[in-house]
């Protein structure tokens, strides 16, 4: 029993879903995603019992490439996030009916497969393959099942694809270059190679391009809002909930250990860039009239803070980044699901056409409210833990940066509450709004439960990830 089982489960799941036919696709997909989650839990358990969950398979002799999957605290927590969120996302989409559902769900599972692979692979080349692979499904999901005017959608989706593809190709070049230096792609070997600062700089840059586009960090973010808006909610959830976490995870797993010198030298530049993203995103969110775009920009802001934390190269920063990744993953999925529900009921994304929903839906309102509060990092929600550690790490580098980054708790509250007021409150809306069904409620309750529980008792996660992060830190400071 090793980590490869998770991948296999998901891959089989994707195939099975496709062949299950449109009628059963969603159910089968749900089944397999839950199975994958279960398998992940088992693996985590094994790891906690100190067993070896890694799996290595020889693949290509020349250049020397082997499919080596490594499960440590860092990667497995991300896998846990991925599988759980995938299950939740599939659960969330059960109600809607897609044309050609079998492909849709198969693609979702396949994407989960690719992303899990990205988190697990310790071989740079395999990692890159999974990284690219995860791009194809989301491309088709956004393209085929997306909403909005077709031409505009095409334009945005292709822009997104080329943009991210471009970024990652440079990462590939960097990997090959490293391979020429070391004769191996494995993370272990790559972090041990001695590079001149100049080489490190260029490699860092290549990686940065790939990640900055994926995360996204300003000014590489222009694809984001449009794609989030156009993609179907499931796609948006996958993108914002998991996919952009891939990039931040990669920063911690690959970029920083591989090229620590520039990371140290340009630390402040990077952090300021990210923090600028926080403020920029927040202020833009204030101006959005489109619900999904608003959430997209808020996500831009939060993720900027996470990246900033990761670049502080402190334990708190890394830990905060990981914690916040998880927290943000759940919150953003929840928020987009809420948005999805509203949009499905009113079939518009214009905030101006909403409002006065609270009267009709006490349950939905409370759930939405809690999610909003979580996303503004109210204490005792999981997000607070993450955001606190992040800001604390920023404060360790420079108190003023911390103040700047801290404005997120003000601006965040500003635009989120504004949105909540415009969407939910006010005199009763003319259009009727049915309160959440049991299924929808279940999704929300799950997410909220997770957020609140770990908000008060994050110890299990912290203890799980800290050793891995300490290793990373040692590699960075080697």
């Amino acid at each position: 029993m090793d980590v490869s089982f998770i991948l296999i489960t998901l891959l089989i799941g994707a195939a099975a879903t496709y062949f299950a036919g449109n009628k059963w696709a969603s159910k089968v997909a749900l089944l397999f995603s839950v199975a994958a989650f279960a398998v992940t839990l088992c693996t985590v358990n094994l790891l906690n019992n100190g067993e070896n969950v890694n799996s290595v398979t020889r693949w290509i002799k020349n250049p020397m490439i082997s499919i080596s999957l490594v499960g440590d605290g860092l990667s497995l927590i991300m896998v846990l996030l991925t599988t759980s969120l995938t299950a939740i996302i599939i659960l969330a989409t059960l109600k809607n009916t897609f044309k050609n559902a079998k492909s849709f769900y198969a693609l979702i599972l396949f994407m989960a497969f690719a992303m899990v692979g990205t988190f697990l692979s310790a071989d740079g080349f395999v990692y890159y393959i999974f990284w690219e692979l995860s791009l194809i499904p989301i491309y088709f999901i956004a393209l085929i099942w997306g909403g909005g005017e077709a031409e505009a959608r095409k334009k945005d989706v292709i822009k997104f694809f080329i943009y991210t593809f471009a970024g990652s190709l440079f990462m590939l070049v960097a990997f090959i270059y490293l391979y020429q230096k070391t004769g191996s792609f494995t993370n272990g070997a790559l972090v041990r190679v001695n590079l001149t600062d100049k080489e490190q700089f260029w490699i860092f840059l290549a990686f940065f391009l790939a990640y900055a586009i994926k995360i996204p960090i300003i000014p590489f973010h222009t694809w984001q809002a449009n794609v989030y808006q156009k993609a179907p909610s499931a796609g948006t959830m996958l993108l914002s909930g998991i996919m952009l976490k891939m990039a931040i995870y990669s920063i911690i797993r690959w970029q920083l250990p591989l090229a620590p010198a520039p990371a140290k030298e340009y630390m402040h530049v990077l952090i300021i860039l990210c923090v600028a993203g926080v403020i920029y995103g927040s202020i833009l969110a204030l101006k959005q009239q489109d619900l999904k775009k608003l959430l997209a920009y808020s996500s831009l802001a939060h993720v900027g803070l996470i990246a900033a934390g990761a670049y502080t190269l402190t334990l708190d920063g890394l830990r905060g980044a990981v914690l916040q990744m998880i927290a943000h993953g759940f919150v953003v999925v929840g928020l987009f699901y809420a948005a999805e529900i509203i949009i499905r009921r009113y079939n518009t994304t214009e905030i101006s056409e909403m409002g006065g929903i609270r009267i009709q839906t006490p349950r939905f309102t409370s759930m939405f409210m809690i999610l909003v509060l979580a996303s503004v990092a109210l204490p005792a929600t999981f997000n607070f833990i993450g955001e606190f550690e992040l800001l604390y790490s920023l404060a360790q580098t420079n108190i003023w940066i911390a103040v700047l980054g801290g404005t997120t708790i003000i601006l965040g509250a500003f635009y989120m509450l504004r949105m909540f007021q415009q969407v939910m409150l006010g005199e009763q809306n003319a259009k009727p709004f049915a309160d959440v069904t049991f299924g929808e409620g279940f999704v929300f309750v799950t997410i909220i439960g997770i957020l609140l529980f770990f908000g008060l008792y994050p110890k299990p996660i912290i203890d799980f990830i800290t050793p891995a992060l300490e290793n990373t830190l040692n590699l960075i400071n080697r």
């Binding site: 202020i283 101006k287 204490p379 108190i399 801290g406 504004r418 006010g426 008060l456 110890k459």
Partner: protein, 627 residues
Amino acid sequence: METNLALLLLLAPFIGFLINVFAGKKLSGNLPGILGTVAVATSFAVTLSFFLQVSSSKEPVMIDLFEWMQLRNFKVNIAFQLDQLSLLWLMFVTGIGTLIHMYSISYMHDDENVHKFFAYLNLFVFFMITLVMGSNLLIMFIGWEGVGLCSYLLIGFWYKNHDYNDAAKKAFIMNRIGDLGFLIGIFILGFIFNSLDYTVIRTAIESGKLLQPSWGISIAALCLFIGACGKSAQIPLYTWLPDAMAGPTPVSALIHAATMVTAGIFMITRLNFLFDLAPEVQNIIAIVGAVTSLIAASIGLIQNDIKKVLAYSTVSQLGLMFLALGLGAYQIAVFHVITHAFFKACLFLGSGSVIHAMHGEQDMRYMGGLRKVMKVTFITFLISTLAISGLPPFSGFFSKDEILMTAFHDNKPLWVIGSVASIMTAFYMFRLLYLTFYKDFRGTEEQKKHLHESPGLITFPLIVLAILALVGGAISLPGNSWLNEYLAPVIAKQSEHHHMGTTEYMLMGVAIIGAFIGIGLAYAKYIKQSSVPGQDSEITGFAKVLYNKFYVDEIYTALIVKPIYALGSFFKNAIEVAISGFIFGLGKLANVLGTEGKTLQNGSIGFYLFAFVLGICSIIVYIFLAK
């Protein structure tokens, strides 16, 4: 055992909240209210037992539950600390809380969402208890933001009205500004002390071996004070409090008068040992407090909305408390917090009772003569008014007088400001009293018909609070103060308490005279001339400035909100467009080149062959002749 009791104290309101949230809709009639009241009453009972225990044993009760957060150099636990200070606070939080819950049962009984109301109220009490009980700054921060949340929920309780929602939003965001300061303060303390536990920090300080230069501590103290400003509505973050009156009156009484707004004072008192190390910050606190009290009082002079007046008076009183804090007289600040809690809660509830009778009318210009119909309300209101105006033997007299005394000893200008503020207080409070209860009724006939004394559930709390407002001063009489004894363990530096000499008595006299001046002016204007404030349009000159609260809100909008939006549109319309334009530009460039390539491919063999030969020649030239 203690742990369980403490948890009961903490969780009772929370359970009430849960029940009301999930089952509240099904509970009929007053059941939600009764439930909420019982929940808080339970906490009160438990608090009482702890109070007695601690005040006898002098030993704080420490409860450590489990590890919460890990940071580079320390851990933060979920842990609670029941010492003299927190228990004192809990006493009046839960005590007054119970009364106000009771009051609300009747006050809110015909609201459609009454169960929600009590749910929120219970939640608030829960968070307030957390804030007070926490044994480290982060727990306090949980409560700190939690109460902010509840105040948001309760201000916007009537969510159909967007003005109320705006008020709620404003309150939350302004608090958040303070909270950022609080967070930064926490960070700095974290660096300096590698812990956030009060006890650890205190021992670290008192052991006197501080590695960090004290300016670090000063900055931390300043940041924490900013946090306090947000919560306790001090300049420059006070403007949310008057707007917060949008909430139901019991809320104003509980949250925006008695308990939540005093959180700032609690925090500073908690960390008094820290602030003692930063005299410059203490100065700032004192000045801010004094100025706030003056400004707020002056605005209060001519407001016509009965609750607005009380709101500004609250701000002004809080200012006085900060003045005391700034002067290092923590016990006195606490003393005033308590007395103020009594009489201000009473005043708010009284005004609530009036509004209840007036069917929602809040403008004093349409009241008057109510004392005939609403005896109980009137009397309790009168007592509280006297208390706040600082007339002996009412509680307010003692607390306020001690503050002014300290001010006189340490810093004369501040004493002057404080005194002026209290004269104003006396004036506008009696203005309020006269306009509301004296002369003839100025409302519509319709209202006049329905005028009535409020039911027992409303008047009972009034009476209790009035009594407290009357005798509350007893806990810290000049000379021999029970309170100072009681608080001694938690206050690091004992403020030299001055024996009662001639100066002191002289000062008392001055204060009393001042109060009488204020009252006299009010009497002259509103009873003798029986003048009634004119319509908004008639107000002119400085009065207009006062009436519009010095245009502070407008200034803030112009200076902060507007620019942010402008920046937003700039980002949206300029930068976003520019960036994506650049990206698309690359694509366009490729397309243009592609078109060029197409034109080159012109289909004529002649040209193709020509290009072919050209290629050959250039290659040969390059290879053989270019050497």
